[in-house]
Symmetry: C2
Subunit: 333 residues, 2 copies
DNA sequence: TTGTAAGCGTTATCAC
DNA sequence: GTGATAACGCTTACAA
């Protein structure tokens, strides 16, 4: 077996004393070639350890079945679940998936977008993170998940879960149990997902005849346990009082729980808490968290289905998809 | 702006009435070109929305700075942390990373390996999962993480955490607190990592003068919470008794905890439990879990450093790295 | 059934 | 400083 780098289709053809066309034909199963020939070629390919060069092939056929996926943070279980689902489903249909972790950084996202373009991706899945505008968006079929940007590539669809309903159900859940001062803990960036959840929350309060109290809207600048702990602790120290707290993610709920415990407030006795996403920590935390579950499987399924449609030249079935959410009751309410 | 597909270096050169060589030179900053020319070209590139074609470039220069990373399950936080670190660090050095989720399936791993080869990757990071032999391993610089296979590519290094010490420390921790019947809950596939941890566990028992009791070795066929729950429940029902349980991952510990609770056994009173990895669930579970922490940051740092060295033609600094682990004491012991 | 050769978008080696 | 042009590895008319 020769040095892999130098084994090309030509190497194979020379060894056999045939033309490269013949070798190409048996490799791709196109055209017609005699059984004996096919045998010989296959054996030579095996012996030489020949591997087709995807770049050369992609260049020639202007194809290469590659799609990109942009995700803010792969360590976040909500995102990694989607990525895994999407990758598996696309692999089954013959597409490779190039995963780009932006770490929520705009510069990295730009870098990846450029890089994906040079790699001639055929499609793109973009999982939110933030709503920033991008200069150089690849002109390929695109599926936005958890986001619905105004300026969109022509061939695109958006898949969101029903955030407004989620916010509504979350607030509803504590209202139903008699809470009257329902606080909200959310992201201070005005992400569309967070805004929708807030809208749902406000509507629920409204239909319960409760006045809006802006002082009960708590925000964090970064969505993690620690920031939630700090924000809730600070609110408590500032004398804010509430009997329920609707959180925009499970991790925020977790931090809130810690702050509440630290302030000797019982849950769900004195304060009820609800999370969002239903990542596994919600079920296994010290106090299992009541949460709004997003249907990750359905979202990824739709994403792949629509993306493949568009990449095959068909129009997407809908421009906007809203996937239902469900409330999972556990012990914090 | 024309249809992106058709904007090539030639399009740009024609618009300007210059040769493709000139355009190539300004794009790559190689050779010399007059300032005015550079200006004109840059503007035309901008206007036409020209993006270099990575495949053509890669074909010509036989390069394309791409590395592959094979990982069993990206939803597992231990793995996703490594992947994130590696991708970020390599991006900084100009490499793209192609992430392959094998979902612990051999056929998928084979498929990805082949696919990576055709894409002419320059290096490979392989994060365990299982120890199976692969037929077609790409002949490129390789870093194995959490695994140390016998048959290795010539340019390769292996980075493991000190699993034996981890197993030892875990057992030691409960022994020190007076436990005498220390059980082990592990993977039934004979992965090298699991075997090492078991060895450490056995040595600890031995130095405490305790006889080995094979009936205290519990196994699961799939490492997750549910299987751990089932295995431990079954052991308990079969009348097995132990006052400590050393688990090979935090998720196993979590399942064990649930089984123990279900059997009305108090933790850490009647049974002490220790986990492994220190994923975030360990800190936030109902009962925060004492666990052996793997130094993910250091492992990924080393991986990138060694991989880059090898890809630049230098030899790796060591063929085998053992990264220290540390015990994190929490409330299950 | 098989071979010849053009061309995909680049870069690099020559000339000029 | 700039322009032709060959070559990278492959697919695909078109010929034979």
């Amino acid at each position: 077996m020769k040095d892999r780098q130098s084994v090309s289709i030509k190497t194979v053809s020379e060894k056999l004393g045939v033309s490269v066309a013949t070798v190409s034909r048996v490799i791709n199963g196109t055209g017609s070639v005699s059984p004996e020939m096919r045998e010989r070629v296959l054996r030579a390919v095996q012996e030489l350890g020949y591997v087709p060069n995807a770049m050369a092939r992609g260049l020639r056929t202007n194809s290469l079945p590659l799609v990109g996926i942009i995700v803010p943070d792969i360590v976040n279980e909500f995102f990694s679940r989607i990525v895994l689902n999407v990758q598996l489903a696309l692999a089954q249909r013959g597409y490779s998936v190039f995963i780009c972790n932006t770490d929520e950084r705009h510069d990295l996202e730009q870098m990846y977008l450029a890089s994906l373009q040079t790699m001639q991706i055929r499609g793109l899945v973009c999982i939110s993170g933030y709503d920033m505008e991008n200069e150089a968006w690849p002109e390929v079929p695109t599926v936005y998940i958890d986001r619905n940007p105004e300026t969109r590539v022509s061939d695109s669809t958006s898949i969101e879960s029903d955030n407004e309903s989620g916010g509504y159900q979350a607030a509803q859940e504590v209202l139903r149990r008699g809470c009257r001062r329902v606080a909200l803990l959310t992201d201070d960036r005005r992400l569309s997902t967070a805004v929708s959840r807030e809208t749902g929350y406000r509507k629920a309060l409204e239909s319960a005849g409760l006045p809006a109290d802006e002082s009960l809207i708590l925000t964090v600048s970064r969505v993690d346990e620690k920031n939630a702990y700090d924000a809730v602790s600070y609110a408590l120290q500032s004398g804010k009082r509430f009997d329920a707290l609707v959180c925009c993610t499970d991790w925020l709920a977790l931090g809130a729980l810690r702050a509440l415990k630290n302030a000797h407030l019982s849950v769900p006795g004195e304060v009820k808490v609800v999370g969002y996403d239903d990542v596994s920590i919600a079920a296994y935390s010290a106090l299992p968290i009541t949460t709004v579950r997003q249907d990750v499987d359905e979202m990824s399924r739709l994403a792949v289905e629509e993306l493949v449609r568009m990449m095959e030249g068909k129009p997407c079935r809908r421009k906007n998809w809203i996937v239902p959410v469900s409330l999972v009751r556990r012990e914090t309410t």
